[in-house]
């Protein structure tokens, strides 16, 4: 499924299913290029949490199924506020309001991913944007560093813009 996604020469962002297939693949790929601070509990699972209305449907589960990160299995969870502490990646749906309060409540070590340029202004780390009918993303490196996350320079290279 992932291979098939990447082979698409051009992603038609106007069609929600394909747009979110791409975003699901990106979400998985983010985990490859981000280093989390060592955790004491050594939980066996890395959780990708979807907060609010889930736009991915089955897609994200299919993309993540069977994947792992440094020997830890990856799993998808759909959650409501308050955010449980076990989320390493937090995808914030467009339906969520009052984001600054949400981010203030998060513990460190959570990679926040959301939609639109305003997501970074509100304090998010990675925001999906559509440019030239393609899915791209902006990164706020400063916010990530404050949360103890180290984002690979290769990821920063392919970001549309990076705030430092």
């Amino acid at each position: 499924m992932l291979a098939c996604l990447l082979c698409l020469p051009r992603v038609h962002a106007a069609e929600p299913p394909i747009e979110y297939q791409v975003k699901a693949a990106f979400l998985l790929n983010f985990t490859r290029f981000v280093d989390w601070p060592p955790t004491e509990n050594g939980d066996a699972t890395v959780s990708i949490c979807v907060l609010g209305d889930d736009p991915f449907g089955e897609t994200l589960d299919q993309v993540v199924a069977g994947e792992s990160r440094q020997g830890h299995k990856l799993a998808v969870r759909r959650i409501r506020r308050p955010v449980p502490p076990s989320c390493q990646v937090l995808y914030v749906s467009r339906t969520e309001r009052d984001l600054p309060a949400l981010f203030a409540s998060l513990p460190s070590g959570v990679l926040t991913v959301g939609e639109g340029e305003s997501f970074l202004r509100d304090g998010g780390m990675i925001a999906f944007v559509i440019e030239n009918r393609r899915v791209r993303f902006d990164v706020n490196q400063a916010t990530a560093m404050k949360a103890g996350l180290r984002i690979s320079s290769r990821l920063l290279n392919v970001a549309r813009s990076v705030q430092k």
């Binding site: 291979a3 990447l6 990106f26 790929n29 490859r32 290029f33 393609r134 791209r136 392919v158």
Partner: protein, 762 residues
């Protein structure tokens, strides 16, 4: 190998050294280049593998996030390695994702290989590597590296080996030449000396001795042998030279005498004491038509026949006379030599004895020459003199100062002075008053070698009469080509000049009266135009007020009054028609301002028939129109032309309804137009008068202005054509005309675009 054996010793030495050292250097050079190639291949393989791995790692994010631009930027960093031809990133399904190519070429990479590795081909190296993200293959990097670098290294090392080879060859050359000085040089000098002695026979050559070894002894023996030969050779040469000099002296004395005789311009024949020919030069042989071997030894009488030109008697050979009298004899004039082939040649000749001082004659010498050319020149000058004497033109020779040297009878007759009067007098004796300076000017031009031809001027006769002359004056040259005088030929052209003047005056008078006529004609036309134009105004008033009178007082006029007014209206109507036609006629004479256009006569006919609609209907006329060409003309001229002709055909009809045909026949400038009718016809005596303005054949019974046909003629003549009429009186008339100036060649040649007009049916 045989070739090597025959080489000189010094070259053998050089060759041996060169081959030995060259071989050693070449072998070591090849090994160095070969070894370097192998080592460099290994190095390159490791280097490119590393490079490919780095690039592949750096591309993982770009391919994961489907960002070809970022991948292209990564690849673009390869620019720093100039030997990288191209680099491409393929997606995992093999479709291209991003590429880089050296320069501005579009990237061309081989398709991705399944396995990683580096492959050498002849010209390049292809490295392929999987791009892996967390153990999963996400794409493939393929990189093409050209092996130009290897060739560069090979060239560098090869060049180095070559340079060393050349340097050592030079060193070998110098070392071996030092070596050969002591062995090869003496031997080759000895060989050279021997060769040069046998070639030049110069026994004075000696070989220099370098050392006292075996070669030194050989040189001494060789030199000694040479000096022995040399002394004997010198003696022999002295004897030979003195004998040769004596022989040459005798030969040259005889040669120079014979050459002299052979090349002089006169014919020379010498005989012995018996009159046999011992020598005849080229000129003599040519005149006698004999050849040298045939003539030698013959008696002179056999070949030299001479007769008197007038008496044709044989003349005694001068040789016989010389032998008899022992003295030089000349020859009588008018002697003709009859050559072997019968040709007669006038000659001058003389004979003389050949003898040594104080001894009797040993033979004779006969000298003669062809005088044909001189005779011909004499005849020519006699002939020229008689031409000059008998010429009616005056032929005068004068020197450069204008002093007359000859004066022929023509001159005596023309100027009235005799030759005796004029020779020795200056030429200006015959100058006409006012033309005195002409002669010095002519003489100045003659001095410059110029010839004056057909110069028309005047001269004065002895009796004072002035005559017109045409002069041709040419320079006279002496034998050295210098101008020494002038010959002047004068012809009396007084009659011609007077006739030409009379003709010119006549022409001028004629032109003047022509212009007067034209002007008065133009005045008349202008008058007619203005008159007819201005006359229309009062006429209009008469018409309108007459009508107003009838209208206003219709009830109050009695019948006679109404007839009067009708007559007024009828008269003015006729006068208006007359004036309109007159105006049209005079306007035709004026130059048109607009250029002529291409007019379709079929269209013109349609307009004319429309204008005549009422007349056609009233008369029940049947009109047929044939194919008509287009013409280059003004339609304002063509409408009245056809309208008058057809109008006349209707007007002058007989008792039957008119049947009228309009047609064109022939082509190009010969096209002939015809308007024929079945009307009353025209008597032969009137057929020319009808075209004159105001000439009418019919009284008021048939209304008309008398200008219609004059207008037709004017239109036709304006375009260079002719109009005439053929008629059977009482039955039919045909008006024919041509329009050569109006015919367009193109329209006629095409022939297919004519419009067939609809037939008028009543």
């Amino acid at each position: 190998m045989r070739a090597f054996r025959d080489l000189p010793i010094k070259q053998k030495l050089v060759a041996t050294f060169t081959v030995t050292i060259g071989t050693a250097l070449l072998l070591s050079g090849i090994s160095i280049v070969g070894l370097d190639s192998i080592l460099f291949r290994g190095y390159l393989q490791r280097d490119i593998s590393t490079l490919v791995r780095i690039v592949a790692d750096n591309s993982t994010a770009a391919i994961s996030f489907d960002d070809p631009n970022a991948a292209s930027e990564t690849l673009a960093a390869l620019r720093a390695r100039t030997h990288i031809v191209s680099a491409c990133i393929y997606r995992v399904d093999g479709t291209p994702f991003a590429g880089y190519a050296r320069g501005s070429a579009s990237p061309a990479c081989p398709p991705p290989a399944a396995a990683d590795g580096v492959r050498f081909t002849r010209h390049d190296l292809t490295a392929s590597r999987a791009i892996v993200l967390t153990g999963r293959r996400v794409g493939t990097l393929v990189l093409v590296y050209d092996l130009g670098e290897m060739a560069e290294r090979r060239n560098l090392y090869g060049g180095l080996v070559l340079a060393i080879l050349v340097a050592s060859a030079i060193i070998v050359f110098f070392v071996s030449s030092r070596l050969r000085a002591s062995i090869a040089t003496p031997v080759s000098q000895l060989a050279g000396a021997a060769l040069s002695v046998s070639r030049t026979r110069d026994y004075g050559i000696r070989v220099r001795k370098f050392a006292s070894d075996e070669l030194g002894l050989l040189v001494d023996a060789f030199n000694e042998m040479l000096s022995g030969i040399q002394s004997r050779d010198d003696e022999l040469k002295t004897v030979l030279l003195s004998r040769e000099a004596a022989l040459r002296g005798a030969q040259s004395a005889r040669d120079s005498l014979e050459t002299t005789l052979a090349s002089i311009g006169d014919a020379v024949i010498s005989t012995d004491i018996d009159g046999r020919i011992s020598f005849a030069n080229r000129v003599a042989l040519g005149l006698l038509r004999w050849s040298e071997p045939d003539i030698r030894g013959r008696r002179l009488d056999e070949v030299f026949h001479i007769v008197n030109e007038y008496t044709r008697e044989k003349v005694e050979s001068p040789v016989a006379k010389v032998l008899r009298e022992g003295a030089v004899v000349g020859m009588a004039n008018h002697t003709i030599l009859i050559a072997r082939d019968g040709t007669e040649i006038p000659i001058d000749d003389s004979g003389a004895p050949i003898r040594r001082e104080g001894e009797p004659a040993q033979g004779t010498v006969l000298v003669f020459r062809d005088v044909t050319a001189r005779r011909r020149a004499d005849e020519t000058s006699r002939m020229l003199a008689s031409i000059v004497q008998s010429s009616a033109d005056a032929i005068i020779a004068k020197d450069l100062n204008g002093i007359i040297k000859s004066w022929n009878p023509g001159a005596e007759h023309m100027f009235g002075y005799s030759a005796a009067e004029m020779i020795g007098r200056p030429i200006w004796t015959i100058a006409a008053p006012g033309h005195e300076d002409e002669m010095p000017r002519i003489l100045a031009r003659i001095r410059g070698g110029e010839k004056i031809e057909s110069f028309h001027t005047v001269r004065r006769r002895k009796d004072g009469r002035i005559i017109n002359v045409a002069l041709t004056v040419s320079p006279l040259y002496d034998a050295l080509g210098r101008v020494v005088g002038a010959s002047k030929i004068a012809r009396d052209i007084t009659d011609q000049v007077e006739a030409a003047e009379r003709l010119a005056k006549l022409n001028a008078d004629l032109r003047q009266s022509n212009e007067d006529l034209k002007r008065s004609n133009e005045d008349l036309e202008r008058f007619a135009f203005v008159a007819s134009h201005d006359l229309q105004e009062p006429l209009r008033m008469i018409t309108v007020y007459s009508e107003l009178l009838v209208k206003t007082y219709a009830g109050t006029l009695d019948s006679q009054g109404e007839v009067f007014v009708d007559n007024i209206i009828g008269g003015t109507q006729r006068m208006r028609n007359l004036l309109a036609d007159l105006l049209a006629y005079t306007e035709l004479g004026a130059r048109s301002e607009q250029p002529a256009g291409n007019v379709d006569l079929n269209a013109i006919l349609r307009m004319v028939l429309e204008n005549l609609k009422v007349a056609i209907a009233d008369s029940h006329a049947e009109i047929s129109v044939g194919d008509l060409p287009a013409v280059e003309a003004h339609s304002a001229h063509l409408i009245p032309l056809f309208q008058n002709l057809i109008g006349n055909a209707i007007k002058y009809r007989g008792s039957k309804a008119p049947v009228i045909g309009v047609s064109a026949s022939g082509s190009g400038a010969d096209t002939r137009f015809a308007v024929e009718d079945n009307g009353i016809g025209i008597e032969p005596e009137y057929r020319e008068k009808i075209f004159v303005a105001f000439k009418r054949l019919h009284g008021k019974t048939i209304p008309g202005t008398g200008i219609g046909l004059a207008i037709c003629q004017r239109v036709v003549e304006r375009y260079g054509g002719k109009i005439w009429v053929e008629s059977a009186p009482g039955r039919a008339s045909t008006f024919l005309f041509t329009l050569p100036g109006a015919i367009c060649p193109a329209a006629n040649a095409a022939g297919g675009t004519r419009i067939r007009p609809e037939q008028e049916q009543e």
